[in-house]
């Protein structure tokens, strides 16, 4: 059997789904961050796969590279925020953080 693009996409989709589930259900802010990383990875896999199967160039990889960099930046900032949050509240439980409540 030939592994086609849709195989990769199914994996990507599942990865995305699991990441989303992590984001939604986890109460720990760090865990939520992990979910975000999963979702990002799912996207990157998709990018690379499409460029591999459809266009054949380096574009997808380069975008993926940018995505990785973005993820790194995001992780750094987000973790800094989480740390500040923890410092302020002694907790990283997302249920407690309801400052944006209407």
């Amino acid at each position: 059997m030939i592994i086609g693009l849709n195989h990769f996409q199914v994996v990507s989709a599942l990865l995305f789904g699991l990441g989303l589930l992590t984001i939604i259900t986890r109460r720990n802010a760090v865990a939520v961050l992990m979910g975000v990383e999963l979702v990002l990875n799912a996207g990157l896999v998709n990018l690379v796969a499409i460029s591999r199967y459809q266009t054949g160039g380096l574009d997808g990889q380069i975008f993926a590279l940018f995505g990785v960099v973005l993820a790194a930046a995001e992780a750094v900032v987000a973790l800094a925020i989480v740390l500040q949050l923890f410092r302020a509240r002694r907790s990283v439980d997302t249920i407690d953080v309801t400052d944006m409540r209407g």
Binding site: L20, I23, I24, T94, I95, V97, T98, D99, R101, G102
Partner: protein, 781 residues
């Protein structure tokens, strides 16, 4: 009349004005820092400078010949179209007398005040007012037209108000000032109306001489009215009326230009101006106009409300004079005016301001001479005032009140002279009166100061020994006012009596005799009450000094300190000078009878020349004149001896007996006269109270009726809009509110969605994506 430019005339009123500004604006601070003299010396010197300038002006005038007047035009004050009033000063022989009297007596009284006001907390204020008064009085005298005279006229009224209310902490004294001002305003009402009437009457009288060529250019404003009521005669009248005084527009401007040239250019041009300037409120222009028989007839033929216009003008102007000069019916303010400091009483309420009415009518002699009715009224009112004021004066105990009523009475004499047509005599008496009455007042001031501000003569007595200078000067002045032979008052008063008897200008039944009789009786009473006051004050033993008795036993030398003492030098010297003038001032106007030159009449003759030919005299012989003169001498002595008999040394019990009499008639008369015939109360009841009631009624009308209507309209509007509002609220607003409430409730519900929880948002994101996909799928299907 020829005008000679004299460019320093304006300095005469200027100096006192400077003094007033100095003391008024800086005086308080200077007083505090540098003491009294720093305030008073400049202000005392100012009138003297004015006097010096006035002397120089009068000397120039005297050298210039009889028909010349000095003229100094500063600027056009009110110049609107053909009406023009200049800021211009004029000195003719009449105003020359006035400025000399005013500046000289005024300056003396300033000097006197140095001593009298010493230690007064309002020192600066007093001198500021006094200087301001000098300024106003000089403007009054020097003003060359009605309006400028009115500036001075009201200015002296204001200063009089300020000075009467000088001791403003005492309500009564403040009220006296207010009374003076308001009563004077009644007179001003007459004065202004008289001026208006005269102005437009002259305009109409002047009309037949109009130049038709300028009709087209100047007749504009009133033509319109004429065409509104198409009446050819009226139209013509209006056109004429406009044109004559209506050298309007360009001609008026050229006149101004010429006027300006005259101030720069001197005599010849000044004379040239006379030809053009027929359109102002200047006295000399009016006089010139009336010299033309045609125009005079034009004025005399006019009637207003059934009265001759000239008569009405004369009466209205006389109303003004009665206000300022305290004649019936407006004399009531003058006795109250004694609330002011005594130098003020001397200067304003005896020597100068109150004579303004006499001056004004004399100034308008050419007009007064045209109207026998007004002359009669003037003379009669003058005589009655002289008589009634004298009767009140008989019973007064306040030394200043005696002098006040005597002033009213003497002013009455002057009006008798004016009404009789003897204008120069009025001015003559004005002058001598200024000397002796100022002296009397200042003497009384000296007495009052000596007696520690006691004014009741019953608490004086015996002052002759304690205050010899005051006593002597007071006696001389009393002799002068009573008309002792060879004293100044004798010449002037005798002349008045004679002229009143001799006059042909009044239309009373019995002619001048009635006037003479009233005036003679008044003279008798004058002599009596003046010496009464002299003897009550200066003879016998000192009766004052409760203080003396109260403290005398404790302190041996203290008693002496409480006895009256002679006043300081500044005051006694002034008294001396004035007494000398009271003694000798009359020699400038010796009677014809004695075949001696009458300098005063001669001096004033050119001024009153214009009216001389319209005045009529009965022409009684010398024998009668001798007889009257002797009568008046007898009268003077009769009064003197009666007073001496009754009041000398306070020994004669008769006055007290009369006062204690039980007879109703005596008591009634006494109370009636003592209370000034209840005139004040009469005015209170008939004028002041109705005015107040009216004002209150109108005020209530204003808020209760007019404003109520406004508010009612507002209320109706509000009721209507309330109805509207109800409809609005219930129906229209209901709908709007429904929408609003829905939105609000929805918002409130949706608010819960915004939980602030991170995952909830992601959750809804996911759900939303799902929904969108489902929706897209359904739509695609």
């Amino acid at each position: 009349m020829e005008l000679q430019t004299f460019n320093t005339l304006w300095l005469i009123p200027l100096f006192p004005l400077l003094g007033a500004a100095y003391a008024g604006l800086l005086g308080k601070r200077i007083h505090r820092r540098y003491g009294e003299l720093a305030v008073s010396l400049p202000t005392v010197i100012m009138p003297w400078i004015s006097f010096a300038v006035a002397v120089s002006a009068v000397v120039t005038l005297a050298q210039a010949g009889p028909e010349v007047a000095l003229y100094n035009r500063l600027w056009t004050w009110i110049g609107v179209d053909w009406m023009q009033a200049d800021m211009a000063f004029l000195v003719d022989r009449l105003s020359a007398v006035m400025i000399l009297v005013v500046t000289f007596v005024g300056s003396l009284i300033h000097v006197y005040s140095l001593g009298y006001m010493k230690g007064d907390p309002g020192y600066w204020r007093f001198f500021a007012y006094l200087n301001l008064f000098m300024f106003s009085m000089l403007v009054l005298v020097l003003g060359d037209n009605f309006l400028l005279m009115f500036v001075g006229w009201e200015g002296v009224g204001l200063c009089s108000y300020l000075l009467i209310s000088y001791y403003y902490r005492e309500r009564d004294k403040a009220a006296a000032g207010m009374k003076a001002f308001i009563v004077n305003r009644v007179g001003d009402f007459g004065f202004t109306l008289g001026v208006f009437l005269l102005f437009w009457g002259l305009a109409a009288a002047n009309s037949p001489s109009y130049n038709p060529s300028i009709q087209a250019t100047t007749a504009a404003p009133v033509v319109k009215r004429a065409s509104a009521k198409p009446d050819p005669a009226k139209l013509a009248e209006h056109v004429a009326f406009q044109a004559s005084w209506g050298l309007a527009g360009a001609p008026c401007r050229s006149h101004q230009a010429l006027g300006r040239a005259s101030t720069l250019g001197g005599h010849a041009q000044g004379h040239h101006v006379e030809g053009h300037a027929t359109t102002s409120l200047a006295f000399r222009h009016v006089e010139r106009l009336l010299e033309d028989p045609v125009k005079r007839e034009g004025l005399l033929s006019q009637n207003v409300l059934g009265l001759s216009l000239v008569t009405l003008v004369g009466l209205l102007l006389f109303l003004g004079a009665t206000g300022k000069s305290a004649q019936i019916p407006l004399y009531v303010w003058l006795p109250d005016a004694m609330a002011g400091p005594t130098p003020v009483s001397a200067l304003i309420h005896a020597a100068t301001m109150v004579t303004a009415g006499v001056y004004m009518l004399s100034r308008l002699h050419f007009l007064m001479a045209l109207t026998p009715v007004a002359m009669t009224v003037v003379a009669t009112v003058g005589a009655l005032t002289a008589f009634f004021a004298a009767t009140i004066g008989l019973f007064q105990y306040d030394i200043k009140k005696v002098l006040a009523y005597s002033t009213v009475s003497q002013l009455g004499f002057m009006f008798v002279a004016v009404g009789s047509g003897a204008f120069w005599v009025a001015i003559f008496h004005l002058m001598t009166h200024a000397f002796f009455k100022a002296c009397l007042f200042l003497g009384s001031g000296s007495v009052i100061m000596g007696c520690h501000h006691e004014q009741d003569m019953r608490l004086m007595g015996g002052l002759r020994k304690l205050m010899p200078v005051t006593a002597i000067t007071y006696f001389i002045s009393s002799a002068a006012i009573a008309g002792f032979p060879l004293f100044s008052g004798f010449f002037s008063k005798d002349e008045i009596l004679w002229k009143a008897f001799d006059t042909g200008n009044v239309i009373l039944p019995g002619g001048g005799f009635v006037l003479w009789l009233l005036a003679a009786v008044a003279a008798l009473m004058t002599s009596f009450y003046m010496f009464r006051s002299y003897y009550m004050t200066f003879s016998g033993e000192y009766r004052g000094g409760h203080a003396h008795e109260a403290h005398g036993h404790d302190e041996a030398h203290g008693a002496h300190g409480h006895l009256p003492r002679e006043s300081p030098k500044t005051m006694t010297i002034v008294l001396g000078i004035l007494a000398a003038l009271a003694l000798a001032g009359g020699y400038v106007g010796l009677p014809h009878l004695w075949h001696l030159p009458n300098l005063f009449e001669h001096w004033l003759a050119p001024v009153f020349e214009g009216s001389a030919h319209t005045l009529k005299w009965a022409g009684y012989g010398h024998g009668l004149e001798w007889g009257l003169m002797i009568t008046s001498i007898l009268i003077a002595f009769a009064g003197f001896f009666a007073a001496r008999w009754l009041y000398r040394d306070h020994r004669n019990p008769t006055p007290q007996k009369i006062l204690d009499s039980d007879r109703r008639l005596v008591r009634g008369v006494h109370r009636w006269v003592f209370n000034k015939y209840y005139v004040d109360e009469l005015y209170q009841k008939t004028v002041i109270q109705p005015t107040l009631v009216l004002s209150r009624a109108l005020s209530i009308f204003d808020t209760g009726f007019i404003d109520a209507i406004v508010n009612l309209v507002g209320l109706i509007g509000r009721l209507f809009s309330m109805l509207q509002g109800w409809i609005d609220r219930t129906f229209i607003d209901g709908l709007v509110n429904l929408v609003g409430d829905t939105v609000m409730n929805a918002g409130r519900a949706l608010r819960r969605v915004q939980t602030g929880r991170l995952q909830a948002y992601v959750y809804s994101l996911v759900a939303g994506s799902l929904l969108m996909v489902v929706a897209a799928w359904l739509m695609a299907a």
